[in-house]
């Protein structure tokens, strides 16, 4: 028996932190109790207000309250939980848990005692005979970083004491460690109800958001900067909410608005503007990796994907509740509404790249499909949950509590998911179109019939007068490449093709004899399915001509059969079993090189026993080579009488008029979106190997979130769309702690240039920690409580004092918080690529504000096996629309856009880079686009200001910088215009920092 002593130690550790320890045992293996009870007490009594004497009292009290701990098993359990489990979980289970490296699984007693490939790991009470101990003691395990001496001692003592194990298996994810997040990770805890903190000197506080921000600033001895002036503020908020700078007039109006709520009115106007949706839709398109091409090898264009972009813009403009937005994008096809948007919305699922290179390798096909499923899973979990899950494809997640079962259970949700161009018309739209189209089609039909009747006359005349023309009831002449003979479906075991006549009376040649039954695609004759070919004879001496070539699935002369009889011979297929046959396809050389030896007279017979034969078809109803059944329209028209010809011409004319009318009716809308077939069974793939299937998994969400049941198996038909709908419901469940947090953080991030969590796609262990955790929870709770309304959230944020601060630099604050995480000012921000391009167009007066519809192209598309995208030298007016309508190709970047950090949409962009480079400077100075638009800008200035350089300078400054030039700037500008032209001034203004940044 070990000696047990209990001491309570009260200890101060640098500052206000108090730690209560209870030491059990003595020596190096003595262990500590009390962390948990302490944290409970912490919650009850804030540490810095709690008198030390009370701690002593509680320490003593705990001793009284804890007697069961000291019962025999209890002692072992307590020791295990306090000392052993942390070592096993943090240092061993990563490999010797679900991964069972070396066959060893230390999660349960049974498995641990049984051991792995090297034998039993633990001999209870005999550490020296336990492999586990030997390995850690010799520092062989864990690899790279062995255990400390104290830890080794702990394991030794634990084994000596009998190696206690709890009933429930150890859980790698039980608790957060130094290396990974557990189920207790901050972002996985329920969203808390938070009361905005009280702040001292609340004069600068406008909204509840400000309380949180100011409280943090005050903790650091900082405060807000002064409010920005109206001139700055309107440009900032306009660019932020709509992606467009205000006009000079709008700015003046706002500056001179005497009303107290002028700013609120401005914000409401901007939020109501359709340009709001264009701006914030663009942000969302970054997150969901929207691009209009397939990526990978070919990167083929997606002509019909723009409706999804318009759907996103519409959704933001309509202030669609976010939970609905999520449901539609994940499972719009499962929502029974009569609304095209809900089908278009599923474009989210398939917005990523698609590998469309076909290969004969089955392994590669499986791999490609698994990659695709991975893409669906990754996009879904990072977009909505801020969790990266890809690690769990090959092993349990190394950082977050997501195991392989979680991952593969989610692949089950998408297991039937495919993509395609779908009709997205509502029943009403369809009916409306039919109402317009049907009468025209009927007229076209009637016209066609009239034309047909006329030509029928001509055909009869021709048949009567020309011997080479044959009635079209006959079949075409045999072709050297491929011929089809269809007949009434007949049960057969044997099919024989007997040649009776060949071209030039040579020995007949066949390269392949195919037999089809009900399944029009399954060739029953293939030797690899067990069918056998025989023949009357074989031309000897040629390896390329063999009987077995008749059904080897390979075409061409070098895989053919030739009989050894002039002008005749037969070939026969014996099927592996009796089958219904109804079509024979045969050819002499499907590669089209040879046309000699062609059977022109033949019959096809079938038999059940190889003895009694039934003829099913022959060449009798084929015309001979050189004859024709087809008559060209020229031949037919020539055979018409003069009056018939006139009648015919008029019919043709009305037919083409009708066709033109039909063509003018817009087609029903289609959209590249999800298509879900039969869900496929999903398995855990060992080490991610597609050929190594482990247990089958049911469709489920991550069990990472304890507040929710992850199982997504439904009651009403387990189709793919329904699985996704249940996943969507799980995601938008108010108990899901991630969804609202992740989304409000995205919105915050775009408003301030950085998120409360600065890794918007990653709320896991590798991600950033929230700078204002309480604010994040308060925003998330408020967002859900108020119906997931996004515009309300924007409004709260942009009306805050935090948002309305000026952007001036403050060295004192910067020395403490250089990155401005605490928001002591509004950080100036360079316009992103799209806003910059749009702003240039707006200033030049050329911005085309047409919304929606197919994207404009800055390239020429040249189709081919691997298409080419060729940059346009001089893009025309059709490209002067807002940049959100730009056709974005995955392998082809527009140089100007990409210089300004416009991302390649092959992967998600949760956060843009904002770099500063010399190439940006060159692009914006010299690019054709800047040149072109600077010329329009100059023309616009001249139209408004006339030829006086001084007036020109005023107007140019107003248009680009929303202000008058200073006196010296005007002087400078005038002399510059005189020497280098107005155009040069315009171009310079578009390159100034004042223009390039929002302050």
């Amino acid at each position: 028996m070990k000696h047990l002593t209990v001491r309570s130690i009260l200890k101060y550790r640098g500052g206000p932190c108090v730690r209560l320890e209870m030491r059990v045992g003595t020596g190096p293996e003595a262990f500590l109790l009390g962390e948990e009870s302490l944290s409970l007490m912490n919650r009850i009594f804030p540490i810095n207000t709690f008198p030390v004497a009370a701690w002593v009292a509680i320490a003593c009290l705990s001793l009284i309250l804890l007697p069961p701990v000291f019962a025999a098993d209890g002692i072992h359990e307590t020791y295990f939980r306090a000392k052993v489990e942390p070592i096993l979980v943090r240092r061993c289970l990563e490999c010797h848990g679900a991964d069972r490296k070396g066959g060893l699984d230390l999660r349960t007693k049974a498995a641990a005692f049984q051991g792995g490939e090297s034998g039993a790991a633990i001999e209870a009470t005999k550490p020296d005979e336990s492999l586990l101990f030997q390995y850690v003691d010799s520092e062989e395990m864990p690899p790279k970083k062995p255990l400390s001496a104290a830890e080794i001692a702990v394991l030794k003592r634990w084994i000596s004491d009998g190696a206690f194990y709890p009933e429930k298996p150890l859980d790698l994810f039980a608790a957060t460690s130094d290396h990974r997040a557990g189920h207790d990770w901050w972002s996985l805890q329920p969203v808390k109800t938070v009361v905005p903190p009280a702040v001292r000197n609340s004069a600068t506080v406008r909204t509840e958001i400000d309380r949180f921000v100011v409280a943090r600033l005050q903790q650091n001895g900082l405060g807000f900067s002064s409010p920005a002036d109206r001139r700055t503020l309107i440009r900032r908020v306009s660019l932020d909410l709509t992606g467009l700078p205000p006009t000079y007039e709008q700015q003046q109006e706002f500056i001179n608005d005497p009303r107290d709520d002028a700013y609120e009115r401005l914000v409401d106007r901007l939020l109501a503007s359709p340009h709001y949706g264009e701006r914030w839709g663009r942000h969302w398109l970054d997150v969901v990796r929207f691009a209009e091409s397939n990526g990978f090898e070919r990167d083929r264009i997606r002509e019909n994907f723009w409706p999804y972009r318009d759907y996103v813009i519409r959704s933001f403009n309509a202030d669609k509740p976010y939970d609905q937005f999520v449901r539609e994008q994940l499972a719009g096809d499962a929502l029974k509404a009569e609304n095209a948007d809900e089908l278009i919305a599923t474009g989210f699922l398939v917005a990523g790249p698609k590998n469309d290179v076909a290969t004969v390798s089955e392994l590669e096909r499986l791999q490609t499909r698994q990659d695709e499923l991975d893409e669906f899973v990754t996009a879904t979990s990072t977009t909505f949950l801020g969790l990266t899950s890809g690690c769990a494809r090959c092993h349990d997640h190394k950082f977050d509590p997501i195991d392989m079962r979680d991952y593969y259970a989610l692949t089950a949700v998408f297991s039937g998911l495919d993509r395609g161009v779908n009709s997205v018309a509502s029943a009403k739209d369809k009916a409306a179109r039919v109402a317009v189209v049907a009468p025209i089609q009927k007229q076209i039909g009637a016209t066609k019939a009239d034309i047909g009747l006329l030509l029928q006359q001509a055909r009869k005349r021709l048949l009567a007068s020309s011997p080479k023309h044959k009635p079209n009831s006959l079949r075409p002449a045999v072709s050297a490449t491929s011929n089809e003979d269809e007949f009434e479906a007949t049960q057969a075991r044997f099919v024989r093709f007997t040649v009776t006549v060949t071209l030039g009376n040579s020995q007949p040649c066949l390269d392949e004899l195919e037999i089809y039954g009900e399944n029009a695609k399954r060739n029953l004759a293939l030797s690899k399915t067990g069918a056998k070919a025989t023949a009357s004879s074989l031309l000897p001496g040629y390896p390329i001509h063999q009987v077995h070539h008749l059904n080897d699935g390979q075409h061409g002369n070098s895989h053919s059969w030739i009989s050894n009889e002039s002008g005749k011979g037969w070939a026969q297929i014996e099927l592996p079993a009796v089958a219904k046959v109804q079509r024979v396809v045969w050819g002499r050389d499907r590669n089209g090189k040879y046309n000699d030896r062609l059977p022109v007279g033949y019959r096809i017979e079938v038999s059940l026993d190889g003895d009694k034969w039934l003829k099913v078809t022959d060449s009798g109803n084929r015309i001979a080579p050189g004859e024709k059944t087809h008559m060209t329209s020229g031949e037919l028209i020539a055979a018409l009488t003069a009056s018939e010809k006139k009648q015919h011409a008029s019919l043709i004319q009305s037919q083409s008029q009708l066709a033109a009318r039909l063509k003018a009716i817009p087609p029903l809308p289609v959209s590249y979106s999800a298509r879900d077939g039969q869900p496929q069974p999903a398995y855990v793939l060992t080490r991610g190997n597609v050929r190594d299937r482990g247990e089958q998994v049911k469709p489920a969400a991550f069990h990472t979130i304890k507040a929710l049941d992850p199982l997504l198996v439904g009651v009403q038909g387990d189709t793919g769309p329904n699985r996704r709908l249940r996943l969507a419901e799980w995601i938008v469940d108010a108990k899901n702690p991630l969804t609202a947090r992740v989304f409000v953080n995205r919105i915050w991030h775009y408003h301030f240039g950085q998120g409360i969590v600065n890794t918007p796609n990653d709320f896991g262990f590798n991600g950033d920690r929230p700078s204002h955790p309480k604010l994040l929870d308060w925003l998330a709770a408020d967002f859900m409580e108020h119906g997931w309304k996004i515009k309300r959230l924007h409004r709260m944020i942009v009306l805050s004092a935090a948002y309305r601060q000026q952007s001036a630099f403050n060295p004192k604050a910067a020395s403490q918080d250089g990155a401005n995480r605490l928001l002591w000012r509004m950080s100036p921000r360079r316009l992103d690529a799209e806003s910059l391009r749009d702003a240039v167009l707006q200033v030049s007066g050329k911005l085309d504000l047409t919304m929606e519809g197919p994207s404009f192209r800055l390239f020429r598309y040249r189709d081919g096996n691997v298409p080419d995208y060729i940059l346009l030298d001089e893009p025309g007016p059709e490209t002067w629309r807002r940049s959100v309508y730009r056709f974005n190709i995955r392998t082809f970047q527009s140089p100007l856009m990409s210089a300004f950090d416009c991302p390649n949409a092959s992967v998600q962009t949760p956060k843009r880079n904002f770099s500063t480079t010399a190439l940006q400077a060159l692009s914006l100075m010299n690019n054709r686009f800047t040149f072109q638009q600077s010329q329009y800008f100059a023309a616009r200035v001249t139209a408004e200001a006339g030829e006086d350089p001084s007036k020109q300078a005023n107007v140019a400054y107003r248009l680009a910088l929303l202000r008058e030039p200073t006196k010296s700037q005007r002087r400078q500008a005038v002399s510059f215009i005189e020497n280098h032209g107005l155009f040069s001034l315009c171009r310079v203004l578009l390159n100034t920092n004042e223009f390039l940044y929002a302050f």
Binding site: G295, F296, E297, N355, V357, T359, V360, S361, L363, T382, L387, G390, C394, H395, R687, G688, T759, N761, D762, N766, A808, F809, P811, A819, R830, N865, V866, P867, D868, R890, T891, P895, S898, A899, F900, N904, A905, S906, V907, N913, S915, T916, T917, A918, L919, A921, L922, S923, M925, N926, F931, Q972, F976, H980, G981, S984, N991, T992, N993, E994
Partner: protein, 478 residues
């Protein structure tokens, strides 16, 4: 092929601030702007220099687009003649990796003989390069993961078969910056238009845009938008830069000490400098007649002459401190045969292609050597995969990812050696297979960068060029 996504997942390390990494200037930005630009990016210069002592200061990647055949160039397989016309089945370790069904084994139509003191076997395709044999180190056991050009190019350039990830050049400049103050740190040149997968081959992926490769064009202004459109007076151009600087300085006074704003002022100054330096580096007029002769810039075939000029320019770029230069031989797959994708006829494809590149590549090696630059320039010659020892059609060869050859020279490489081997027919790497990640690790290693420590946070992980894979191929290093 064993599927190994494991090499595709990345990062095992804790989130650390970007401050932890050295960022000297990419995108050709010089020391004048250094402080401000670093400040703007929230970076510090506290940690500087490479992780360990580099053996190469710069890298030249000579890329034969669409797959050069190893069994017809540097991986001599006499057994192919013996097995000519036979099925591949039963020879080598052949698995389900074919893009198309394999044809019969086909011997090389080219003559082989031994070269140099090392006695290395090589084909007649590269007469000039063969004479440099003792300067080269061959890796005969390269293994790629993707079987079609696009994904394979991405994999070779970025370590990921999908597009959208940072290329090895971008990583190099991210890790070390550039030594030139007025040229981009990472330059790309191509002889016949965009290679397969286009700009993705030199993209910055999730790294900031300043690390992306800059295309030096073979005609016209060397850099897109380097100069204003023709007809604009250079005097006005200069005055515009001056006026802009004045306006920005004035504006900066209203935002004193804002590093980002002063960084942009510096960026425009550098752009102005680049307008002088880029044409200077592209201009070959000052090179001696002997040098032109050496590279073959005067060859009568315009495509041959183009590649010669690109190689000469590559030397000038490297000489001026550009960190990473990629030269592509071969363009897009649409205009066959415009690259090395010899599906229909290995001989008629590879012979003219080799003719185009052989002399200038050998010249480049000689020129670098004579200028003392080969010692600290890592030169790599490769394609994204090799070609099958079997025929496609009657005379072509298909893609082969199971084994192919590249050579390296200079910067810390052990010359006159060969590492790894394919099987008797040249199909599969059997001896010391080398993954793309190993090559990437080796490139970074020669530059003094530890591929496990060169990381950048993106979407949940500290990303590495090498994912969780990558072993430096120490055997080829001196």
């Amino acid at each position: 092929m064993t599927p190994s996504q494991h090499t595709k997942c990345t990062g095992y390390r804790r989130f650390v601030s970007r401050r932890d990494f050295l960022h000297t200037m990419g995108g050709g930005l010089g020391s004048v702007a250094l402080t401000d630009l670093l400040h703007a990016e929230g970076q510090s210069t506290n940690e500087s220099g490479p992780h360990h002592k580099p053996t190469a200061k710069r890298v030249l990647l000579l890329f034969m687009s669409a797959g050069v055949s190893h069994v017809d160039t540097f991986d001599y397989k006499p057994e192919l003649a013996k097995f000519s016309g036979q099925s591949i089945t039963g020879k080598g370790n052949v698995q389900d990796v074919f893009f198309r069904k394999p044809g019969k084994l086909m011997p090389s139509p080219f003559k082989f003989q031994q070269y140099g003191e090392s006695g290395k076997w090589s084909s007649e395709l590269f007469p000039h390069v063969n004479r440099k044999m003792d300067d080269l180190a061959f890796v005969h056991s390269m293994v790629a993961e993707a079987n079609s050009h696009g994904p394979a190019m991405h994999d070779f350039m970025t370590g990921e078969p999908r597009n959208g990830f940072p290329s090895v050049g971008a990583w190099s400049v991210y890790g070390l910056g550039s030594e030139t103050q007025d040229l981009p740190g990472f330059v790309v040149m191509m002889d016949r238009g965009m290679p397969p997968s286009s700009t993705s081959n030199w993209g910055n992926g999730f790294l900031p845009a300043r690390f992306q490769g800059t295309v030096f064009r073979s005609s016209g202004d060397p850099i897109l938008d380097l100069e204003p459109p023709a007809g604009y007076r250079s005097e006005s151009q200069r005055a515009s830069f001056e006026l802009l600087a004045k306006l920005n300085e004035e504006h900066l006074r209203t935002h004193p000490q804002d590093g980002e704003l002063s960084a942009r002022i510096a960026a425009y100054e550098l752009a102005a400098r680049m307008q002088l330096s880029a044409p200077e580096v592209a201009d070959l007029a000052k090179e001696s007649a002997a040098t032109h002769q050496l590279y073959g810039t005067g060859r009568s075939d315009p495509q041959q002459a183009t590649f010669s000029r690109l190689c000469l320019r590559a030397r000038r770029l490297l000489e001026r401190g550009v960190r990473f230069v990629t030269v592509f031989s071969g363009g897009s797959n649409n205009k066959q045969p415009s690259n090395w994708d010899a599906h229909s006829n290995i001989e008629t494809n590879h012979r003219p292609n080799a003719m185009m590149v052989d002399q200038p590549i050998a010249a480049l090696l000689a020129d670098l050597k004579s200028r003392g630059m080969l010692d600290d320039t890592l030169v790599i010659w490769t394609g994204e995969f090799g070609r099958t020892p079997t025929s496609e059609g009657t005379k072509g060869r298909d893609h082969n990812i199971s084994g192919f050859t590249l050579w390296m020279s200079g910067g810390g490489v052990k010359p006159g050696m060969a590492y790894g081997a394919t099987d008797e027919i040249g199909f599969q790497a059997v001896d010391n297979p080398v993954q793309i990640a190993d090559l990437h690790a080796t490139i970074l290693h020669t530059l003094g960068l530890n591929h496990e420590r060169l990381t950048y946070y993106y979407n949940g992980l500290q990303r590495r060029l090498t994912g969780v894979a990558g072993n430096v191929i120490r055997e080829v290093l001196a």
